[in-house]
């Protein structure tokens, strides 16, 4: 899958994970795709739900089998 932007939030902890992601999405245009690399545990448990709450669509989730996941998110995809 081809993303328009990519962000790695494996080096921060909640809630800064979602904060960084949200700022990145704010700076993108509606319909653009963001690739997100995040940690297993709390981030993968919470971030997809938070993204949906804000109207963004999760297009794809991949377990990278190294303690991280990759999400593809479509900005405002649920609006």
């Amino acid at each position: 899958m081809k993303a328009d932007n990519i962000i790695d939030i494996t080096n921060v902890v909640c809630p800064v994970t979602f904060v960084k992601l949200k700022i990145e999405l704010e700076n993108m245009k509606t319909g653009k795709i963001l690739e997100v690399i995040l940690n297993e545990g709390e981030p993968i448990a919470n971030i997809p739900r938070s993204l949906k709450d804000e109207g963004h669509k999760i297009i794809d989730v991949t377990n990278n089998d190294n303690g991280t996941y990759t999400l593809f998110v479509k900005k405002d995809g649920l609006v």
């Binding site: 904060v19 960084k20 949200k22 700022i23 704010e26």
Partner: protein, 271 residues
């Protein structure tokens, strides 16, 4: 201008909110709020606005910190007694959040200086944290003349009230209360007493209104008077309409210049 990593962390609980986000926090950081009266209402309002990251906070007060202020004016510490309130408040805010620029005005507002003070930083929103009627009317009239939104409030004993004025969107303070009561008819906090926390409750509501105005979210208290009774723990929200006969914002206003009403001798001292 973008937020630094430190700011993302400091304001994370704001940014997570759907109604705020990074853009909303930036609006707060660019926001300019003037607080007139650094007492029971102004102290907590200033602290919450500073913590929120309001970039410019003007504080007007010519008083010094008195020992009897500390029961409710939580921006001051015991060692601040005797200091000018505005400078002491500025020190507290500086240590709370260096994103905030405090503009201290160590003076008493009157008809001659209030316009200049509001114009000084072209404040977005004004908080009336004063303890006397003449200045409450002065702030109202100045804000009506300058088309500036402001939050009115008053506290006494176990009671508090607050309303928000938005230009051309509902009543002003004078639509409800036409003129100040005669001096000394209504007791001041000093004479009547006030539960310290009343300023915290009502001042925090004033800070909330300022933030909502800056963010452009929700509904403000324009067109309503919110009355809080702590003894019965009840809030009453009374709808108030714009008064077309209002002497300052009505159809044919008779008041077109600022008025310095007489301030009773004792009400001025540390309300």
């Amino acid at each position: 201008m973008s937020l630094t990593d430190k700011q993302l962390e400091r304001y994370s609980r704001h940014i997570i909110l759907k109604e705020i986000g990074g853009k909303g926090q930036q609006k707060i950081l660019n926001g300019k709020v003037l607080i007139i009266g650094a007492g029971g209402l102004g102290a907590p309002a200033a602290m919450y606005l500073a913590a929120a990251g309001v970039g410019t906070i003007g504080i007007v007060d010519d008083d010094r910190v008195d020992l009897s202020n500390l029961q409710r004016q939580i921006i001051y510490q015991t060692e601040d007694v005797g200091k000018k309130k505005v400078f002491s408040a500025a020190e507290t805010i500086k240590s709370m959040n260096s994103d905030v620029k405090v503009i201290p005005y160590a003076e008493r507002v009157d008809s001659k200086n209030i316009m200049d003070i509001i114009h000084d930083q072209d404040y977005d929103f004004i908080i009336d944290g004063t303890d006397n009627f003449p200045v409450k009317f002065l702030i109202n009239d100045a804000c009506v003349f300058l088309n500036k939104p402001f939050s009115h409030a008053g506290i006494i004993r176990f009671q508090g009230q607050t309303m928000t004025y938005l230009p051309h969107q509902g009543p002003c303070y004078r639509c409800i209360f036409e003129t100040p009561p005669p001096p000394d008819v209504v007791p001041t906090c000093k004479q009547a007493g006030v539960l310290g926390v009343m300023g915290g409750v009502i001042g925090s509501i004033q800070a909330t209104e300022a933030l909502k105005y800056i963010l452009g979210v929700g509904h403000l208290l324009n067109g309503y008077l919110l009355i809080y009774d702590a003894l019965t723990m009840t809030f009453r929200k009374v709808q108030i309409n714009h008064n077309e006969h209002c002497t300052v914002c009505g159809d044919i206003p008779s008041i077109t210049t600022l008025i310095d009403y007489e301030i009773s001798g004792c009400s001025w001292k540390r309300g």
